[in-house]
Assembly symmetry: D2
Amino acid sequence: MTPSPFVVRKVVRFAHCDPAGIIYYPQYFMLAHDAKEDWFRDGLDYPFKQMIGIDRRGFPIVKVEAEFQRPSKMGDDLDVAISVRAIGAASLKLDYRFTCGPEPRMWIRTVLVMTNLDSGAAVPVPDWLRERMGRFQESAKDAP
Amino acid sequence: MTPSPFVVRKVVRFAHCDPAGIIYYPQYFMLAHDAKEDWFRDGLDYPFKQMIGIDRRGFPIVKVEAEFQRPSKMGDDLDVAISVRAIGAASLKLDYRFTCGPEPRMWIRTVLVMTNLDSGAAVPVPDWLRERMGRFQESAKDAP
Amino acid sequence: MTPSPFVVRKVVRFAHCDPAGIIYYPQYFMLAHDAKEDWFRDGLDYPFKQMIGIDRRGFPIVKVEAEFQRPSKMGDDLDVAISVRAIGAASLKLDYRFTCGPEPRMWIRTVLVMTNLDSGAAVPVPDWLRERMGRFQESAKDAP
Amino acid sequence: MTPSPFVVRKVVRFAHCDPAGIIYYPQYFMLAHDAKEDWFRDGLDYPFKQMIGIDRRGFPIVKVEAEFQRPSKMGDDLDVAISVRAIGAASLKLDYRFTCGPEPRMWIRTVLVMTNLDSGAAVPVPDWLRERMGRFQESAKDAP
């Protein structure tokens, strides 16, 4: 199976937009977080309900980098593509690209660390999860 | 006058925190935006009400980079220090550092472009605003 | 055609939940607003993009009443049913019921007034919109 | 000591406002929640950090009623006055009034129930907390 990104559509809501009439930029990070939540549930079959609520594991963010290419407006349908850049022992490099039709809107690169939510300590990504995540690994040419 | 950052205190609200008990990371960008709004009003004497509502100018974000150093919890008092890294013809490099007492929590580096909100075109930063912003310019040693 | 509510599914997101592990209650009003936005686009064929962005009409809220029946948790699938209680000259009484499977979670009753967004004045609901809204009018027995 | 409301000032932020240029109404409930959090910390000397984080008690909402009197705009300074309408065995009736200078903007009436956050069961309001809350009890004539 060729790896390919996980894509989910998000609508730019009235509530996401500001008095300047465009998306308020922190909302992109909220949409990215929602998309990641969808990816865990639908792409990895490991919903947050299970991971965070029961297994008490999480992926807090360590680094983020983003570039805003074109503004998004109320009612725009955005496709959020999530792809895995790299998986380390406990870390995960996850990228997002937001497009509206053919038009790129913004991208985000993140570094996350798998963590025991009770102790706060980094924990290794289990093999079964690493294997599932690998299905969404981008090839070098796709990197933003 | 020696340049120094603009500092404003923000409380980590119940509403900012997630089921993992710590701040939901996009909230840092919301707090940074609120702090920037305070800076325009109290530090630059150019409130958003005037700039966006009347003059129809804004500073949409072009790039952002952030590092999360330690998690913040409900009730923490965070000091947000804003400093100017550079001012170009139409662009502004603005940095934020979040600390809780002596403890660094995260930092953000942003690139913004001054824009005519009606046309979307970049516009030069006026001299009087550039002069006011310069009072908050960081020295090289302060850069995160 | 028998009138029936407009129903849309919303997920209780990680970001909607608080350190007490349940949905932070203002999020219900945000979800209701998103559902109303879906209703305008998919149920009434009059998207906000057109109504607010182009026609400069809106439905600001005048009154709201809500009862919270059972808490909602991260990952819950909520069905939001929107029904019209009454349509006046310029006003609209709109009700929402949130359920998770068979379990009622909360309801909201609202009164809205159609408004010219530039002048702020109330404007009559046009006949074509009143007719479309009428398809979602609840019968007396359904009222919360 | 004559009972009087607890008053705290909140700014209508850029981020609170929508493409219609006014506050997005669920933000009022967020501001009310922030004001309640301030009241617990500064008015009752019982911060959420202690109540929720350590004692595992909370005041989830059961009912809410609100009326929106005049729209609020970006940059407005709102005074939020919190007063206690009644304290039952486990319940609390709490009212909020939002004003901008002399102008009323909206009010909220809420019913809350004190709860053990681990079991979800209602618990009696302890006498010491009831006594402190009583200092903010409104007289009949003040009720919205």
